[in-house]
């Protein structure tokens, strides 16, 4: 550290060589700090990417990556020759888009309603209750749903009590998709509202006062002060959600689906797990995963680009 003292006191001017070696030595810890993350990235993110080659092979576990025969785009042709592939893609996009749409609307409406509350403890309590489900895993919330959505479960009993028909939420193929969308919104709407509420509290209160002085009613104030105030946040959330249109919620569907609802409930990820991993069709599974990965990458990159252009948002 003697060099550092010399530079700061400027009594004796250190040689250019000494300064350079001090700089190099000083930067060394910065590289050392990145080593653990680099090891993690290489072993668990980039090394698996190398494994994508098996999508273009007929992978034999005993032969490994190196010796398995190359088959070009055979796996992709095989994939698109299967009759249920389009059904699975359609399920994925329908469920994902349904979740994004209903989820954003529910979070926004919930945030707007909560914003109108003037009693702080009431607001805090409701908000605390609203996002507790976000912190439970799908195994736990799924276990709860299996019980409350059962044919004799509490929700069906409630439906029956008010004279409605009981629904086979999890075993009727035509109800399964709405059940997935509804249960996701149920679990996540409170958490989704956090960002909107943060934006709502950021609105300048003098705007409301000025509008009130000008005779704007409460409804008009919401329309002309609140909504424009959080419009950038709404645009941002919609833009960022674009990257998720192929994510229909793997863990949720894996815990809740069953053969009776494959027609409407099977999505890309569950297909990869079932056919690829459990069915030992490694190459086919890798091919499907690769397709999804590439499309998702393009969508996410596009959504970040748009978010930067429209809302000036950057992750770093």
């Amino acid at each position: 550290m003697g060099v550092a003292k010399a530079t700061s006191s400027s009594i004796a001017k250190p040689s250019a060589k000494a300064v350079r070696s001090w700089r190099v030595k000083r930067k060394l810890p910065l590289y050392l700090m990145l080593v653990p993350a680099l090891i993690g990235l290489v072993l668990f993110h980039y090394y698996p990417m190398y494994g994508i080659v098996i999508a273009f092979q007929k992978y034999e576990p005993l032969l490994g990556f190196q010796k398995s025969p190359w088959v070009g785009f055979y796996q992709f042709e095989l994939l698109f020759s299967q009759p249920d592939i389009w059904e699975m893609l359609r399920n994925t996009v329908t469920i994902a888009v349904g979740k994004i749409t209903f989820g954003q609307v529910a979070s926004l409406v919930f945030a707007l309603l909560l914003h109108e509350v003037r009693i702080p403890w009431f607001k805090r309590t409701i908000q605390s209750l609203s996002y507790v489900l976000h912190f439970l895993s799908w195994v736990i919330f799924g276990g709860m749903l299996l019980d409350v959505l059962a044919s004799q479960g509490i929700i069906n009993n409630a439906l029956a009590a008010i004279g409605l028909a009981r629904l086979a939420f999890l075993t009727n193929a035509s109800v399964f998709q709405p059940t997935m969308i509804f249960s996701e919104v149920w679990k996540e709407f409170g958490f989704g509202a956090v960002i909107f509420l943060a934006a709502l509290t950021g609105i300048d209160p003098t705007l409301y006062e000025a509008a009130a002085v000008d005779g704007a009613s409460r409804w008009k104030r919401m329309l002309h002060v609140t909504l424009p105030g959080i419009a950038p946040t709404i645009v941002l959330m919609v833009t960022l959600s674009l990257g998720g249109v192929l994510n229909a919620g793997f863990e949720q569907i894996l815990v809740l689906y069953n053969p009776a609802v494959y027609a409407t409930g099977d999505i890309i990820d569950t297909y990869v797990y079932r056919a690829g991993l459990l069915g030992l069709q490694f190459s086919l599974g890798a091919a499907v995963g690769l397709l999804k990965g590439i499309i998702s990458l393009v969508l996410i990159a596009l959504s970040y680009y748009l978010a930067d252009r429209i809302a000036n948002y950057r992750i770093f």
């Binding site: 990235l41 209750l129 890798a286 995963g289």
Partner: protein
């Protein structure tokens, strides 16, 4: 806030409070319902009599589960996973965020940033991931649950943005006094970042506690499953557990209330940290979206 005294406004307020109370309750009712079922006896749970209040209270379910060796082993695996995994995550988050947060450049800095971002945006998919874990010899080991997720990109970004919000003069002054980057990070930055570190720790710990799918893929025997993966097999896939062996207990307990009790036990740790989570995560969320 401006007060409105019109009738329309009051009617709206009335409806608003009712709707919000309903929405808030809607999120905790499944929990209360299962709690009631978990302490009710066989006859009333099988007849669907229980709603939000236990009937013929019994704590036998909980006794049976806590006596069950498989459940206890899974709980222990989860505990080890949370402690080891969170520590490693936290260390890597701190070490990685610091160099990237500095205004000071170094060779390879932007390259490193890009490989970090690219790994966040693109993955090879489940099958190549599984094959990689297998060829690294991690199958059936607890490390397969901890190491693959050791680099948490999103938490690194949260921490990085927090470090950036600290005044740069702190580091500069310390440098003049002869402090190295290690000193600046661990003696100045870390002590000043406790709220952000709490956020990251809680996110990581809850994430580890809640993970289950990775265990399903990398563990050969259910003996090595953490709690949530174990529950996936018992509560969701409904494998019979033979927890209820003696006839006396059989007369009192139902599979349904056993499942409910297991769900409740797995939820308790989350509820215990919930007040802390709440205090920090809003902070964490807004930190993650600092405008660049």
């Amino acid at each position: 806030m401006i007060q409105d005294r019109t009738i329309g406004s009051k009617v709206f307020d009335g409806f608003n409070y009712v709707i919000l109370v309903f929405l808030g309750l809607f999120c905790v009712l499944p929990f209360i319902h299962l709690l009631a079922i978990s302490v009710s006896d066989r006859a009333s749970t099988l007849a669907n009599l229980v709603t939000f209040w236990p009937i013929n209270f019994t704590s036998l379910n909980y006794q049976k589960i806590l006596e069950d060796l498989a459940f206890r082993r899974a709980f222990l695996v989860s505990l080890v996973r949370v402690i080891l995994g969170t520590s490693i995550n936290l260390l890597i988050v701190i070490l990685t965020a610091y160099p990237l947060s500095l205004a000071e450049g170094f060779i390879g800095k932007s390259f490193f940033k890009w490989i970090l971002i690219f790994a966040m945006l693109f993955s090879g998919g489940l099958i190549p991931w599984y094959l990689a874990i297998r060829s690294l010899g991690l199958i059936n080991s607890i490390w397969a649950l901890i190491l693959p997720g050791m680099v948490q990109m999103w938490n690194i970004i949260i921490m990085l943005n927090f470090f950036r919000s600290l005044p740069a003069e702190l580091g500069e002054a310390a440098t003049v006094d002869g402090a190295s980057h290690w000193d600046i990070l661990f003696r100045i930055y870390v002590p000043l970042s406790l709220p952000a570190l709490a956020t990251v720790t809680l996110f990581a710990a809850v994430g580890h506690w809640n993970s289950w799918f990775d265990a399903l893929v990398v563990m050969r025997t259910p003996d090595n499953y953490p709690l949530q993966a174990y529950l996936q097999t018992t509560v969701l896939a409904r494998m019979t557990q033979n927890l209820i062996r003696d006839p006396e207990a059989f007369a009192k307990l139902s599979e349904r209330s056993m499942r409910a009790a297991q769900i409740i036990i797995a939820t308790i740790p989350i509820l215990m940290v919930y007040p802390f989570l709440q205090r920090y995560f809003v902070h964490g969320l807004t930190l993650g979206s600092v405008k660049g």
